[in-house]
């Protein structure tokens, strides 16, 4: 018993060290901007940089838009697949996995070819158009996570019976999705939303090739030209991602409960 515990702790310790040592080293390095002793100067430098605020705000806004568009597309799609087109499910699952298989660079070159300024839909011809294109690209990129989060959420409720119960009470399809389905899978949807946000906030390839002032290209630019600020930014990015993940855990406590009391 004791021996099996020892090995378990050893594996855990090695695993934890694998993740924590680089993180601690990066954090330690980010504190060494002032020669001779530790300080948060690199963090102060990052936060006072107007470009940090601009790019972070830009990525956050695009992230929010991606979440909204993602929810509007994925929730009804999963709902109809589960309710009326179960045969379509394997195909949709495969389709939603494609963004993991196709590299972002191919995706963005495809977009540029299809939507350049001399095409029928010249998204890249204007800043707003490119922002829309970037949003759709992020929706696609986050599709595997958003789809699976929503699908898992819908698996926890009896979609068909709840739909029928709402229908017979007089509700139409948009009312059913908005008032019954969405509130019951809200935690799952928010999980997908935070994953989308975590992806969008640090994404580099698409934002860079579409030439948008996003946080990812800013991180790369700082990394190429400064010493201590990139380490501080890496820690900040980690905290943002970690915060988003923690929110998923926190929210799962508020999921609507479905089972009846047994007494």
């Amino acid at each position: 018993m004791k021996q099996s515990r020892f090995w378990a702790w050893l594996v855990f310790g090695v695993g934890a060290a694998y993740f924590l040592v680089p993180l601690i080293a990066t954090f330690e390095f980010s504190l060494r901007m002032r020669r001779g002793y530790y300080s948060f100067d690199s963090y102060a430098s990052v936060f006072s940089d107007p470009k940090f605020q601009q790019t972070f705000t830009y990525s956050a806004v695009i992230g929010l838009l991606s979440i909204i568009v993602g929810i509007l597309i994925v929730v009804p799609a999963v709902y109809f697949v589960r309710l009326r087109m179960a045969w379509l499910r394997p195909y949709v699952e495969f389709l939603t996995l494609l963004p993991l298989i196709i590299p972002a660079i191919i995706l963005v070159y495809g977009y540029i070819r299809l939507y350049n300024s001399s095409s029928i839909i010249p998204f890249t011809g204007s800043a707003v158009g490119t922002d829309i294109l970037l949003t759709f690209a992020y929706v696609t990129l986050a599709l595997p996570y958003m789809y699976r989060a929503v699908d898992t959420g819908m698996r926890t409720i009896d979609v068909q019976t709840l739909t029928e119960a709402a229908q017979i009470a007089g509700a139409n399809t948009p009312q059913i999705i908005a008032r019954i389905i969405l509130p019951n899978i809200l935690v799952a949807v928010l999980s997908g939303a935070f994953l989308t946000f975590a992806i969008v906030i640090g994404e580099f390839t698409i934002a860079s090739l579409l030439n948008r002032p996003a946080f990812g290209p800013y991180l790369q630019n700082i990394g190429a030209n400064r010493a201590y600020e990139p380490a501080a930014l890496a820690i900040i990015s980690f905290i943002i991602t970690w915060g988003a993940m923690s929110m998923i855990n926190l929210l799962s406590r508020f999921a609507p409960r479905t089972s009846a009391r047994t007494d």
Binding site: T161, L162, R179, A260
Partner: protein, 354 residues
């Protein structure tokens, strides 16, 4: 008076399988009707077609003179209670009951009053702030009933609403459902596979078998005069005796070597032809009894002690029949292997047509 619900030539096929095969019935306003049958007989499919969840392959459904065959479920003004309660987990009891009222655009103060009225009706006043997961199955189903009747639907559909509940609650809730239905005078269709449930609370019962209606009638008609062999065997306990016609003209049949004279035989009965007779266990008595004109002798093959009742299985020969007798504390029950005489009135013997 024109019927309130009329179903004509209703057919439903899934692919090559036809599950409802041209069903016709008509019910009056305020009737409580049960669709009774085994799993897969088409009863739930009929209810779902009335609700609008399934489109009939052919046929029509009319409610209160309006053809609803092609209407969407949310346009039919019907209420429904599901087997799995189907309360909305994100809404509390009050909001669940008020859901249909809110969709219909009823003002908030009227909604509140209606919710209170409904909670009183189902015996759960003060429960409006509770969530479904905080309630027992029986309480949830009562809330589901309140939600279904709150918008004052034209008709109430109950899809095996008691199946998920334990036996004791099932009995009390079915009585509550019947009391509420009588109070409101709402036309109700109740789907069940439990014949006791159907017989105990219905004005009329539709017995279904393999997509067809075998019999439609009052509970006592279904029980006492089953129209088909299926109804006879499905509803209540029934003894079936295989006999042979000895003399068609004298109405005599041979039951395992014992000659019995029946009041009549079906048209076309011929001497030496096999014939199936049925009788309920309660029409049989141990020994001779006044009013009985048939006595049969046999051997006790099994004795089951059920407290106030003792169930005996008696072998007449190839035929084995069951009968119930009251437990008499002063005498010991018959034992296995005892010779026994049972009696019955010939009018209680039913001749089954296949």
């Amino acid at each position: 008076m024109a019927p309130f619900l009329r179903v004509e030539n209703l057919v439903k096929s899934f692919g090559t399988t036809t599950v409802v095969k041209g069903v016709n019935f008509a019910f009056n306003k305020g009737e409580f009707v049960s669709l009774l049958g085994p799993s897969g007989c088409g009863k739930t499919t009929i209810l779902r077609m009335i609700a609008g969840f399934e489109n009939p392959t052919s046929g029509s459904i009319t409610v209160d003179g309006q053809d609803i065959t092609n209407l969407k479920p949310n346009q039919r003004q019907l209420g429904m209670v599901f087997q799995a309660y189907a309360l909305f987990p994100n809404l509390n009891v009050g909001d669940n009951i008020a859901f249909g009222l809110k969709i219909a655009g009823m003002p908030a103060d009227q909604r509140r009053a209606r919710v209170e009225e409904m909670l009183k009706l189902i015996g759960l006043p003060g429960f409006e702030k509770r969530y479904p997961y905080e309630m027992s199955g029986g309480q949830q189903q009562r809330v589901a009933l309140a939600r279904a009747i709150a918008p004052r639907p034209r008709m109430l559909l109950l899809d095996e609403p008691l199946s998920a509940l334990d036996a004791k609650i099932r009995v009390s809730l079915r009585e509550e459902i019947r009391a509420i239905q009588l109070d409101l005078g709402i036309t109700t269709i109740f789907v069940t596979h439990d014949q006791e449930e159907a017989l105990s609370i219905s004005d009329r019962v539709v017995v279904m078998n393999a997509g067809n209606i075998d019999q439609l009638g009052a509970p006592h008609e279904i029980y006492n005069k089953p129209a088909t062999r299926f109804v006879a065997t499905f509803v209540g306990h029934l003894n079936t005796i295989e006999a042979t016609v000895v003399s068609a003209s004298k109405h005599q049949v041979n039951i395992d070597g014992q000659i019995v004279t029946l009041p009549s035989l079906p048209d076309g009965a011929v001497t030496n032809a096999p014939i199936s007779l049925t009788l309920r266990p309660e029409v049989l008595s141990v020994g001779e009894r006044a009013g009985s004109d048939i006595t049969l002798t046999g051997t006790v093959s099994d004795v089951t002690f059920l407290g106030s009742v003792i169930r005996l299985r008696v072998a007449l020969g190839k035929n084995i029949i069951s009968l119930d007798t009251f437990n008499d504390q002063r005498t010991a029950p018959p034992a296995r292997g005892d010779a026994i005489t049972v009696s019955l009135a010939s009018k209680d013997l039913l001749i089954l047509e296949n």
